[in-house]
Structure formats: C-alpha cells, structure tokens
C-alpha cells in the first residue's frame, strides 16, 4: 500500500498545484452565478477550511456567502438562457446576501443535486442550503432548519388517458420518483406495493414519464402542477397526499448564530410581504392562477393550517 499511498499523495500535491494555477479561469463557469463574483469565488476553494461550518462573522469577513440551490428545478432554482441563476429560492437567497453582506451579488451559488444536499452542509461546502429543502424529522437529525418560507404536499401526475386519482390505483404499477426527495420516502414507507422507479435528477424523471417508462410521477405538488400545466396530455390526479410539508433553508447542525440570523430575517421580511413578492416574480409566470399564492407562500415562518 505504501507505493499507492505515495503516488496518491503525489497526485494530490501535483493536482492541487496545477489547479491553483489554472483554477481561476475555470471556476467562474462552475460556481458563480454573476460575473461580478468571480474573484471572491476563488477565495473559498481549496483553502484548507475544515468541515466545521463558517460562523456568521466568518461569512461577513469573507464577504461572500455560499448558498446551495438547484440549477435544474424550474421555477425554484434554474439557470436561464443567459446563464443566470433564477427562481423562487434564488430570489430569497439574493435577498439574504443583500441584507447580510450589502449586495445581492455577494452570494456564491453552489449548484446541488437533490440527493447530496445534506452532504454539502455536513462537509461545510455551503453555508446555507436553499434547494427547495423539505423539512422532515430525519433531516432534522442531520441539519438545522430555519423557519419555513414555503409549504407543499405531494402531488401525483399521470397521463390523462390513464389518470391516477387514487393511491390504490398505483398498486402493482410503476411510480417514478427522484432520489432523496420526500416522495421517495413517503411511498416506500407507506405503500410498499408500489414499484418505484428512481432517478437522480428531475429532468430524467420527467423524460421517463414522457417516454412511458412509468405510470405516474410523484414529487411536491407545486412541481407537478406546474409541469402538468405545460405538458398537454398529463394531469395532476392527486393534488395533495401525505402531510403538508414545509420548505426551509437549512444550515449545518449547531450553526445557531447563522440560523438565528436567518430566522430574524424571515420574521422581519413578513412586514413587506416579501415572499408574496417573490411568488409574483418567479412563480406566477409559471403557475398563472392555477394556485393561489397563499397555498404555497409562508410569511414570517408561520404556517396557517
């Protein structure tokens, strides 16, 4: 093993050295959403930081906050045709950067996949995860959630000609889910008879549904409603199943300072009805009037039943 360790070490040293040299060109396509943040982006990579999350002071000192968002979950977090990150989550993330650091460009967006959201927090690769993160008891053991800013239940979308309107219809059939989502947990725990077809990414899941590789697809109802609106021949047969879940920003476990700051921020934003504004800007163009804002938006962290 000695030689292999030696060569691995050598590889590490060389690779790091090389990357330090050529990294500045590359990282701007990788992490930063807006061109103004190119320089600060570099500071954080490979600087030997530990897995302990940064405190509020450290973030302020650095001048850039790292927020994990989806980059392929339209309309919550997606990259528009000009390469700019947009969406409901992103709108809030930019506001956090503005209120914490002074400018909404002081945020480095890290693009995540659903399944690795917890890992990113645990390994301190992001300060906050705001990737449409549904609050669950299991996740609460791993990360600390702030007050919610959105609420959802699960929805099931299926082709109109064989519409699924009741969960029992799914017995023995194939349901498509995305790995690491609440839908995966909910159906595997409560309906073991339903065959689950799992994908890593939303795009793949939708493609599978379009190709007929599954009988229905389930994820948050906001998501399936929006999708069904745009895809003729598909309809949301079950609009709300499972518990009403909330969606919140999350920080690494024990990072109370940052958590408290976010909570205060959410409370103070209630006065200006910030999330209703967010809804108008990002969600309304997609949903139209198929959902009332109050069905989704949570102001001041207070969920009305």
């Amino acid at each position: 093993m000695k030689k292999s360790i030696l060569s691995a070490l050598l590889a590490v040293t060389l690779a790091t050295g090389l990357l330090a040299g050529c990294g500045s060109k590359g990282n701007d396509t990788v992490n930063s959403s807006s061109k103004d943040t190119e320089a600060p982006t570099e500071k954080s990579s490979g600087s030997g930081a530990t897995a302990k999350a940064r405190t509020l002071d450290e973030i302020k000192k650095d001048g850039t906050i790292k927020i994990g968002v989806f980059s392929d979950k339209n309309p919550f977090g997606y990259v528009d045709k000009n390469g700019e990150i947009q969406g409901y989550d992103v709108y809030f993330a930019k506001r956090i950067a503005k209120d914490l650091l002074g400018s909404e460009d002081d945020v480095e967006f890290v693009y995540l996949d659903a399944a690795s959201r917890v890992e990113y927090l645990k390994s301190a690769k992001v300060d906050i995860t705001m990737a449409n993160f549904t609050v669950t008891d299991e996740r609460k053991e791993q990360v600390d959630f702030a007050l919610p800013y959105m609420k959802v239940a699960l929805g099931v979308v299926s082709p109109e000609d064989s519409l699924i309107t009741d969960v029992d219809q799914l017995n023995g059939k194939t349901l498509i889910v995305v790995k690491g989502t609440t839908a995966e947990t909910y159906f595997s725990e409560n309906y073991p008879d339903i065959k689950l077809l799992k994908f890593d990414e939303y795009q793949e899941a939708y493609d599978a549904l379009l190709d007929g590789r599954g009988d229905a697809f389930s994820t948050d109802n906001t998501e399936v409603l929006a999708w069904a609106l745009q895809n003729k021949g598909f309809k949301v047969g079950i609009e709300s199943i499972g518990n009403i879940d909330t969606i919140a920003a999350a920080v690494q476990k024990g990072n109370t300072e940052l958590l408290d700051w976010i909570n205060e921020e959410i409370k103070s934003l209630a006065d200006e009805q910030f999330f209703h504004k967010d809804f108008e800007e990002t969600l309304e163009p997609v949903y139209g009037d198929s959902i009332a804002p109050d069905e989704i938006v949570v102001e001041g962290g207070i969920v009305e039943e």
Binding site: S4, A11, L19, V30, N74, A226
Partner: protein, 225 residues
Amino acid sequence: MQDSGILVLFQGTNFLRLWEGLWVSLRIAVISMGLSLVLGILMGMIMTSKNKIVRFLCRVYLEIVRIMPQLVLLFLVYFGAAKHLGINLSGDVAAIIVFTFWGTAEMGDLVRSALISIPTHQYESGYGLGLTKLQVNLYIIIPQTVRRLLPSLINLLTRMIKTTSLVVLIGVIEVVKVGKQIIDASRYTTPGAALWVYGAIFIMYFLICYPFSRISAVLEKKIKD
C-alpha cells in the same frame, strides 16, 4: 414543436455555455491524463519490481481502483476529505485527484505490460555498453515503451473524457449538467428541447473524442511499420 427545440440551443448564451461545459470536462480529463502519464510510468516501473511485496502492493492498488466505482471514489474525496480530514477540495480538484488515482493505476498496468514486452537483450545490451540502470531505462527502454503505449494511452484518455460526466454529482458543472440546465430552463416553453440538447452534446463528445481515436489509429499503424 421540433423546430423550436433546436432553437433552444441558440437562445441567449446557451450554446456558448455548452462549450464551456465541454471545456470543463476536457480540462479535467487532460490534466488527469497528464498526471497519470507521468505517475503511471513510475508506477509501471515499480510494478515490474522483483520484490514480491512491492508487486503485491501494486496489485492491491490496481485491484482497488478497478473494483471501486469512480463515483464512490469521487464522493470519498469530495465529501469524505472535507468531513474527516478537514480538507475542503473544490469539485474540480477532487475530480482530478480521483481521475489521476484511477489513471495512474491503469496507466501503470499498461506501462508494466509494455515494459515486459521489451526483450531482455535490450536491457543486456544497454548494460553491456556500460550504462547505468537509470540510463538504460531513460534512453533505451522508455522511448520504446512510449511508442508501444500511445494507442492504449489515447484509448484511456477518451474513456476519461466520457467518464467526466460523473463529476456533476460532486457539483462540477460540466457539459451534461449544462445540457440539463438548458432543458430544464426551457421545459415550460419548449418541452421538446431534450432531444436537441442531448443530440448536440453527443456531437460535441464525438468531435472531441474522434480526433483522439484517429490519432490512435494512425499511431498504431505507424508503429507496426
């Protein structure tokens, strides 16, 4: 519908972003390949060692690399290093480390087989001329092995380019991920974009890998002569 699908490629900076994504893939592959080449030659020489223990350890290393999926290695280096060693690597660095770790083993094995394919009299003639072991390797053996290696080396490089599509799972935005972003951003306006975007990515990979495999074919022919 199909007409608008292809237009998605040319909206805004979409097309440019795809190329940038491809550059990310290519950069990771080429840097890793460069490192693997250097380390692999060393590794190959170590692998031909007469010491049984050294050979066994090399074997273990090679088997570990072959058995472990690259994805597991990527997660280990990217998340594992941050959590357990306190080393916070960027996605690119983690990818290069893993691909180099993999490439060095594969390369080492290729070098090893190339080395043992060199007839013994080549060594012996070298020693007979009074060259040292290092000189024999440097002037006689390595130049010959490199020639024999080139085809399989390029094969490894194209494999590496294609395997870079895994790095998206450690947050590196390479060409396939950019493609997914483009498909997703336009999914409400042009649901048919997927075919065109993936088609474009297919052509891009082809454009990059084909020259390499041509070179490999030409070299193979040349060496036979």
